[in-house]
């Protein structure tokens, strides 16, 4: 960020709801099916068809509103009118001036609160593919439209322009994604488009100046892209202003490969959407009983779950704890740690294995038998398995979805070494490297790795690294 400038960022996030059926008809809400198979007169916008609101979608939208501390209010649907081939009715049914959820907030892991202006319901469009050499609409030979996505329920979450750095914007997107997954409303897959982020960016000389003219950036397919695009866009605007030019309010497209934003359309070319109340639907007025019933189904939100893990540590020493806690919660693996801790596994060990090895295959880890996972960590904790061995057994457990870790260890020949044989092996390694031993005894601690390596080699990994270290220190101490 160029010195002397301040960014102002607001994000609009579209989240596809994980309902069985679409927002206004009974067609399956499924990603990746054969094109135009999950369609009916309603989501194709055929003449005479009418929308009927999906109750489950409303409940998921209210769950999002609750998790974002919004007021859940009586709301209405409007028509947003514009022509586009993948817009089946050539209007989109969306909430406009009376959204279901309004005036909430989201707290970032560092405690910074981002205001939520609204989280409203609307329907998704179909998907257009431009065939031909260019792959873009200009120069396409023809275009294909798939209406499977037409009418899929969305919630659009509009933040206030409270963020001041791209790091905050990335943290917001990451935290919001975790919240959406935690509510059960979304799978949060940015790469599949089930969570889509648009960024509004402007710059100003100081925090006391009024907001500058903003640009909206679209096509941000990852949190990383979001950060890059915001930084690029801010620098672009600063360069314009420092050159005495003006920022034109416009929608810009992020080109991931080129690493820059490009103008799509300016405010002068913006559509007049001619919003008016959708006459085919009635107002959506959830009563207090329904709102409370939805709130009661919500589990712990990510912030609460992080606090729960940190609480388990009770000030114990763990390096990198914040990032491990964040990873475990973000991937939805925190219940594994909580369960392991409840059964006596040291929390730092449970956290480390979960945030590293289990996190590498999070999908399998979320499905693994909790009892088997805890049993494995217990074996590592009590020295029955070395760290290296434990990681190997864990790989098998995850691949199989469970099993008996003791049996797997035995089949692999991972028997814990007896103390006598460990002492003998360490003594052999010391005897074989007298120079290193002398230097180790004079305080070159890092040479312990030489001996540990030798022992591991001799035992083909069966020795417990911690036990070897303890023996080395005993030998040095006792001279």
């Amino acid at each position: 960020m160029t010195d002397g400038w301040v960014m102002v960022i607001g994000l609009e996030v579209h989240c596809e709801l994980r309902t069985d059926t679409k927002l206004f008809c009974g067609c399956p809400n499924m990603f990746g099916d054969e094109p135009n198979t999950n369609v009916c007169p309603v989501c194709l916008g055929l003449p005479g068809s009418l929308p009927v609101l999906n109750q489950r979608a409303v409940e998921l939208a209210m769950a999002i509103g609750t998790a974002l501390h919004c007021d859940i209010r009586p709301s209405t649907f409007h028509r947003k009118n514009y022509f586009y081939p993948d817009q089946a009715k050539d209007y989109q049914i969306s909430q406009y001036d009376e959204p279901l959820n309004a005036d909430g907030w989201l707290e970032l892991p560092d405690g910074f609160r981002v205001g939520i202006e609204r989280a409203h319901m609307e329907e998704d469009t179909g998907k257009t593919t431009h065939a031909g050499t260019s792959g873009r609409i200009h120069g396409a030979d023809y275009s294909l439209v798939d209406y499977n996505r037409s009418g899929v329920p969305l919630v659009e979450i509009v933040s206030r322009a409270d963020m001041r750095t791209s790091e905050q914007a990335r943290a917001y997107a990451t935290e919001l994604r975790s919240i959406l997954v935690a509510t059960g409303a979304s799978d949060g897959k940015m790469e599949e488009g089930s969570m889509r982020v648009d960024a509004n960016v402007s710059v100003r000389r100081s925090a006391d100046d009024p907001f500058g003219t903003r640009c909206e950036i679209k096509n941000l397919n990852s949190v990383r892209s979001l950060g890059r695009a915001i930084d690029y866009e801010a620098e672009r605007q600063i360069a314009l202003l420092e050159a005495g030019e003006v920022v034109v309010q416009q929608t810009r497209h992020w080109d991931e490969d080129a690493g820059r934003t490009q103008a799509l359309r300016s405010k002068e070319e913006a559509y007049d959407y001619r919003y008016f109340l959708e006459p085919d639907l009635v107002p959506l007025v959830p009563d207090a009983e329904w709102i409370h019933a939805v709130a009661d189904t919500l589990g712990l939100m990510p912030a609460e779950r992080r606090a729960r893990l940190v609480g388990l540590l009770e000030g114990g020493e763990v390096t990198d704890v914040a990032s491990q806690v964040a990873t475990v919660v973000d991937l939805g693996l925190d219940d594994l740690v909580v369960e392991a801790a409840a059964r006596g596994v040291p929390v730092p060990l449970a956290l480390k294995r979960t945030a590293n090895e289990a996190a590498n295959d999070a999908e399998a880890a979320r499905a693994v038998e909790v009892g088997a996972y805890v049993a494995l960590l217990t074996m590592e904790a009590n020295g029955s398995l070395s760290a290296t061995q434990a990681k190997v057994v864990l790989g098998d457990l995850l691949a199989a979805g469970g099993g008996d870790p003791a049996a797997i260890a035995k089949a692999k020949g991972f028997e814990a070494m007896s103390d006598d044989s460990l002492v003998a092996t360490v003594a052999e390694a010391v005897a074989a490297h007298p120079d290193e031993w002398a230097r180790f005894c004079e305080g070159e601690d890092k040479l312990s790795q030489v001996f540990i390596g030798q022992v591991m080699k001799a035992t083909r990994g069966q020795a417990n690294g911690k036990a070897v270290m303890a023996e080395l220190q005993r030998l040095r101490r006792e001279g």
């Binding site: 916008g45 005479g48 022509f83 089946a88 007049d272 001619r274 008016f276």
Partner: protein, 486 residues
């Protein structure tokens, strides 16, 4: 006093259910009438002979098996061509829907099937129901069976003419600003617009969604009540459908008006043809003679109805008709790119009146104009609802003419939209209020053209409405026979 009016369609169903007449024979008689005269009248866009014969045969088979095919067993019914019929062309009398066959039936069509009705065809209409004369149809005008030089009214002119000409005892139309009642009056038949939300709109191709309502045409009040009973009732596929029990109007239609208060609506009598006004006063006298208390009432807000309607209805239409873009169904005029294709398709597919209303509606909703036009019209709509509510604090039903004049000549008003629009001045306020109303034939003009009087009632008061309508029907001077002039 009790009245037992005629009920030709209901009687016909009774004969078919009892086995004394075959549905197949009833159908052939009506197809013969169509063959004899529809070339001249052009009530139908499509006569569905094969499907009708199959339905009639199925009805006869059920009777033969000792089953009851339903309250409309074997009764031919004509459907306005904006009601979706599975696998059968449904055009809204527009070029833009040429060749389109809906993959589903409208809810009312399903209910007719379940009631044993035999659907004989799709009737002509003003394009997308926009018009008052059926002259804006892309398939050419329908002629009034009473005088083929005159219009049948509109937009449901084909359905009104089909019932008047004896092509079918019953028909369905849709009423957005008078599109059932006005042609019923001009063709000398009964036409009724139900309370908004009592008849499902699922499968009715939308003109103005907050105003559209499907309703019956019949040759008698009792038959209209029977058809209303069949098509009404809650439908989960229409979110604006009221969740209440199916209406039962037929059972009370003969109960008379003793003790009711009827308000003669002063604003509707102002400026109408003197013969039409005179007939309306005679109808009021008949209601008084039958035991009703009749008083004059004023609802000045109704005078604002026409202006509000011509903002609200086009506004909704401009959005409803956006989907005719050449992408998924109907006409497509190919072009270099999508936007040009959209424009070329819509330019070629829509007629002048439809284009005029899309332009009006788009303008009324545009940034900077919306508050002055569309939102102002919504405020007027509220005033009209309040005006009617005040009248209904003292009255059970209101009475007025259905139309300011009798049927006008073909071509007479096509060049002057404002004059054309004025022929719905007495029917539009009912749609804005969402109330029910019915037009009942009440004699003829000195020129031999039918005159209709209109009864209005508050929301969901259909049973009261039909009772009053039956009393008016019983007292009505004979309407001149069809086919007297040409």
């Amino acid at each position: 006093m009790s009245v037992a009016g005629p009920r030709p369609a209901t009687d016909l169903a009774a004969e078919v259910r009892g086995g004394s007449r075959r549905a197949a024979d009833v159908l052939e008689e009506h197809l013969a009438a169509i063959d004899a005269r529809d070339g001249e009248i052009h009530a139908f866009n499509l006569v569905t002979r094969d499907e009708a014969r199959a339905q009639a045969a199925a009805v006869d088979a059920r009777v033969a098996r000792g089953e009851d095919p339903g309250p409309l067993a074997g009764v031919p019914v004509a459907l306005k061509d904006n009601l979706c019929t599975r696998g059968l062309p449904t055009t809204c009398s527009s070029r833009i829907l040429a060749g389109w066959r809906p993959p589903y039936d409208a809810t009312v069509v399903t209910r007719l099937r379940e009631a044993g009705a035999v659907m004989v065809g799709k009737t002509n209409m003003d394009e997308f129901a926009m018009g008052s004369s059926t002259e804006s149809s892309a398939t050419g005008p329908t002629r009034n069976p009473h005088d083929t030089g005159r219009v049948p009214g509109g937009s449901s002119g084909g359905s009104a003419a089909a019932v008047a000409a004896g092509f079918a005892p019953l028909a369905l139309g849709s009423d957005t600003g008078g599109s059932i009642r006005q042609p019923a009056a001009l063709c000398g038949v009964v036409g009724m617009k139900p309370t908004y939300g009592t008849v499902s709109r699922y499968g009715l191709i939308a003109f103005a969604s907050s105003l559209d309502q499907i309703g019956p045409f019949a040759r008698s009040v009792a038959d209209a009540a029977q058809l209303f009973d069949v098509i009404g009732g809650h439908d989960p596929a229409d979110s604006t459908s009221l969740n209440r029990p199916t209406p039962r109007a037929l059972s009370v239609v003969d109960e008379g008006v003793a003790g009711m208060t009827v308000g003669v609506l002063a604003e509707y009598l102002d400026g109408v043809d003197p013969e039409v006004a005179a007939r309306t006063r005679e109808a009021a006298d008949a209601l008084a003679a039958a035991g009703a208390r009749v008083e004059e009432v004023s609802v000045p807000e109704v005078l604002l109805g026409l202006s509000a309607y011509y903002l609200i209805a086009p506004a909704e239409a401009s959005s409803n008709l956006a989907r005719y873009d050449g992408v998924r169904f109907g006409l497509r005029v190919d072009a270099e790119d999508t936007v040009t294709m959209n424009t070329a398709t819509r330019s070629a597919g829509f007629g002048a009146e439809v284009k005029r209303r899309i332009m009006l509606g788009t303008y009324a909703l545009s940034a900077g104009y919306m508050d002055a036009y569309y939102n102002q019209a919504l405020r007027v709509r509220t005033l009209i609802i309040e005006g009617f509510a005040a009248a209904y604090r003292t009255c059970d039903v209101l009475l007025g003419p259905t139309t300011p004049t009798t049927a006008f000549a073909i071509g007479e008003k096509v060049g002057d939209p404002m004059t054309m629009y004025r022929s719905d001045v007495c029917t539009i306020p009912t749609n804005l209020a969402g109330h029910p109303a019915v037009s009942v034939p009440f004699g003829s003009s000195s020129g031999g053209l039918p005159i209709g009087v209109q009864l209005l009632a508050p929301a969901l008061a259909e049973r009261t409405l039909f009772r009053a309508a039956a009393v008016v029907e019983a007292a009505a001077p004979v309407t001149a026979a069809v086919g007297g002039r040409s």
